[in-house]
């Protein structure tokens, strides 16, 4: 079928690598004028990377970017803006120390000269009135004083404001994630009105219902490739889920033999500092406990609280065994960059490796070799520097450090961040095996696939536990829902 409306944006064979990890492996994408394109896929499927490339904030390794039939060279955020591409990214791009009006000004070089403050204020408040009637945001409010939902509203409204440059394509990356149901509906209605007026939108959301109802066409991404693209009517929920590839489905059975909860001895009982209700995190021997929710909502704080409670009594946290931590930000608080692989692995087990006052080189090497063979750290010699390993293998060494120690509880702070899929699967098996041998895992992760590896999941929001899901209750939808709804 030939579509009458012209293509305004065309991406051709776009590739992008971050180190050894392939984020995009040759993606084609077309957006027509006056079209709402839905983009769905699991975390890490490459949606956000693709949008950053379209916005000019990331440079593709290979591929063409064509805007209105003109191929772009040296594509930059400024060029994207000139053309009329606007973005609302997941991480907010407002300046917290500026007022709402001043933040509008940042996007519009044309707002200058005498009285620019009034013009900027009128522009942004007018757009807010149009999209979110009754929004309660003032032009002179400081953004840092606004709650997250209103910041998101300001950010969305700002993307739709126009001065001297036209608005042709607005990218909305999870725009409804911090909005409540009412404002989300306002936004979706406005999006439809704008699309009817000839502006294009790319809409990314984890809530498949939203995408199915509001988009004209849907592209499904998976592992850095677009795997399906069709009119929205051609999809339904099940088809989308199948196309996204729920790879954990077949794995789910593997965890079916977990112990009945509460049969084994208690290992951790922890209440978060800011917890209002009675909810508390409980972990027994041999369990894998997931900590879910949006990034930075208190999961890491709780892990650190458990970690310090193991050595020093702490109110609200009860720990009955030794603890080891696998850091997520391995460059900052994981590896010792000047040490060898074996030294990095052995540092948590120094007591065991000691001979008199000194560390026995032989025992250290034996420990490191054992783990190298067991979890497949790819190196010719464990005496090499840790930095000679790839990122995924460095992370394996950190796992070996924790598992090689005599700790009965292992805390993991998003340990597979930036690790390729193959290594991830190996790590999942390792965790499962160690749990069956009686170790307890507390696992903070932002990926739903990994939560499905857990026996029990606690969802965090604003430093408190807001949901407590068993493995059978766990769905992505539920985690997202409880991440965003207010704790009552």
């Amino acid at each position: 079928m030939i579509v009458a409306s012209p293509t305004i944006v065309e991406l051709d064979g776009v590739e992008k690598h971050f180190g050894a990890v392939r984020a995009l492996g040759g993606v084609d994408l077309r957006v027509q004028r006056g079209e709402c394109l839905g983009l769905v896929g699991h975390n890490g499927a490459g949606k956000s990377t693709l949008m950053h490339i379209l916005a000019g904030t990331a440079v593709p390794d290979r591929g063409r970017i064509v805007l209105s039939g003109e191929e772009q060279n040296g594509y930059s955020p400024d060029q994207a803006k000139q053309f009329g591409i606007r973005c609302v990214f997941q991480e907010l791009s407002l300046c917290p120390n500026l007022t709402v009006a001043e933040n509008a000004r940042i996007l519009h070089p044309a707002l200058s000269g005498f009285n620019w403050r009034r013009a900027a204020g009128a522009l942004i408040v007018g757009k807010l009135d149009e999209i979110f009637p009754g929004h309660g945001v003032g032009a002179s409010d400081l953004v840092q004083d606004l709650p997250i939902g209103r910041r998101q509203m300001v950010e969305v409204a700002r993307a739709f404001t126009a001065t001297d440059q036209p608005v042709r394509l607005v990218i909305l990356d999870e725009p409804t994630s911090s909005l409540d149901a009412h404002t989300a509906a306002q936004l979706l209605a406005f999006m439809r009105r704008t699309v009817a007026a000839g502006v294009s939108c790319i809409f990314i959301s984890h809530l498949l219902g939203e995408v199915l109802e509001n988009c004209d066409r849907i592209v499904v991404m998976r592992d850095g490739k677009s795997v399906a693209a069709d009119a929205a009517q051609a999809f339904d929920r099940d088809k989308l889920v199948t196309a996204m590839g729920d790879e954990t489905q077949q794995r789910e059975a593997s965890g079916g033999n977990h112990l009945a909860r509460g049969r084994s001895p208690l290992r951790v009982r922890a209440r978060s500092m800011r917890q209002i209700g009675v909810a508390e995190l409980v972990a027994h021997e041999g369990e894998v406990i997931g900590l879910a929710g949006l990034a930075g909502h208190g999961q890491t704080d709780l892990l650190l609280a458990v970690f310090s409670a193991a050595t020093r009594a702490r109110a609200g946290v009860e720990v009955t065994a030794t603890v080891a931590l696998v850091a997520g930000d391995r460059q900052a608080d994981g590896i010792f960059p000047l040490w060898s692989i074996s030294e990095n692995i052995g540092v948590c087990s120094l007591g065991k490796l000691r001979q008199g006052l000194l560390i026995s080189q032989r025992r250290e090497a034996a420990l490191a070799n054992f783990w190298r063979d067991k979890i497949g750290i790819r190196t010719p010699d464990i005496r090499n520097n840790i930095l000679s390993l790839s990122g995924g293998n460095q992370q394996k060494a950190l796992f070996a450090r924790a598992l090689g120690s005599d700790a009965r509880i292992v805390l993991m702070d998003d340990p597979t961040r930036g690790v390729d899929v193959g290594t991830k699967l190996e790590v999942y098996d390792l965790i499962r095996e160690e749990a069956q041998a009686g170790r307890t895992f507390l696992w903070y992760t932002t990926e739903t696939d990994e939560l499905k590896q857990c026996d029990h999941v606690y969802v965090f929001r604003n430093g408190t536990i807001v949901a407590d899901l068993t493995r059978d209750e766990l769905t992505e939808q539920k985690v997202i829902q409880s991440s965003f709804t207010e704790a009552s």
């Binding site: 791009s93 407002l94 300046c95 500026l98 000004r105 940042i106 200058s112 000269g113 004083d145 409540d180």
Partner: protein, 328 residues
């Protein structure tokens, strides 16, 4: 649905109001501490509160206020300038020698200094260096140049500068007029102009500024050049008051200027600064530094320590009323 959302909006409005009240309280704190110091002086020595008294007590506050504004610009961009003190000293030496003897060369040198500041900003941005290290290095450079120029105290301020700094306006003492002018210029420049918003934004969320298509390099260079400009003004004002120069004359200004910015409600990170507060902070420090302590009959040996104690007390008060959790 609407009823539910308005019900939800009410507590939000209340926290907004509370936040605003706290913010107002914090904004008033610099003025409050200045008033406290003035009241203490008035009780200890009522005669000091007069046209002549203020002119004497606040004379040295003008260069301190200018140096504080200079420091404020770099702090707005999440940096710190440890070289401002020796820089003011170097400018003082140039003023008392070249600017008097061969004005054209002197002016070119001072303009060159501002250029050097902009270049330091560019270096810090491009090489992603910690500003503390670079400006600490620069402080030795300025100090060394100043000693080369004026190995022993001497020189003489140009006559026009002496006349300017010696103006006696009717009714309001000159230092107070000057402080008002400095505060107004800095406030308008950084808080009210449209490019000022970009400069402050670069300290608040530089990624957002870059994504919107602004040059972060230019912003950093502009902030450092403004620091250089106000540093030059500070050096000029200082020599206009002291009439002759000394290579070490400005050394105390580095920490005084940082303290002034923080005392005035600024923060080290996040682009949160207040020009008016900074000037008030500088005045408070200048008053607390020696007039107050002299009136309290604290021996000069103890004055530096007492000055530090006052600083700690005022900063502690600021932390007490800072909104918790809003400092993201």
């Amino acid at each position: 649905m609407t009823a539910a959302s308005t019900a939800a909006a009410q507590p939000a409005a209340r926290t907004m109001g509370k936040l605003k009240a706290q913010r107002l309280l914090r904004a008033l704190l610099p003025a409050l501490s200045l008033a406290l110091v003035l009241m203490a002086i008035a009780t200890l020595n009522p005669r000091a509160i007069s046209y002549f008294g203020f002119t004497l007590m606040l004379n040295l506050a003008i260069p301190i206020a200018l140096a504080t504004i200079a420091q404020m610009f770099v702090i707005a961009g999440n940096d710190l300038d440890l070289s401002i003190g020796p820089f003011v000293g170097f400018v003082g030496c140039v003023t008392a020698t070249w600017l008097r003897d061969t004005p054209l060369v002197g002016i070119l040198m001072l303009l060159g200094c501002i250029g050097v500041y902009a270049a330091v900003g560019a270096l810090i941005y491009l090489r992603n260096l910690p500003s503390i290290v670079v400006t600490l290095g620069m402080s030795f450079v300025w100090q060394g140049l100043a000693i080369l120029l004026l190995p022993k105290p001497g020189g003489r301020a140009p006559d026009w500068l002496l006349t300017t700094m010696g103006v006696k306006p009717p009714l309001v003492p000159f230092p107070i007029l000057a402080a008002l002018l400095i505060a107004a210029v800095a406030y308008f420049g950084l808080m009210r102009t449209s490019y000022g918003a970009i400069l402050r934004g670069s300290g608040g969320n530089s990624v957002a500024i870059g994504r919107a298509g602004w040059s972060l390099l230019k912003a950093k260079m502009a902030l450092f050049a403004l620091t250089g400009l106000f540093g030059v003004l500070s050096g000029l004002a200082l020599i206009g008051i002291t009439t002759s120069a000394d290579a070490n004359i400005g050394n105390g200004y580095t920490l005084l200027s940082i303290a002034g910015v923080i005392l005035g409600g600024g923060e080290f990170v996040g682009g949160r600064v207040s020009p008016v507060g900074a000037v008030i902070g500088a005045l408070t420090l200048a008053l607390a530094a020696s007039p107050l302590l002299t009136f309290m009959q604290i021996p000069p040996d103890w004055q530096v320590a007492a000055n530090g104690a006052i600083l700690i007390v005022v900063l502690a008060a600021r932390v007490l009323i800072s909104p918790k959790g809003a400092e993201r």
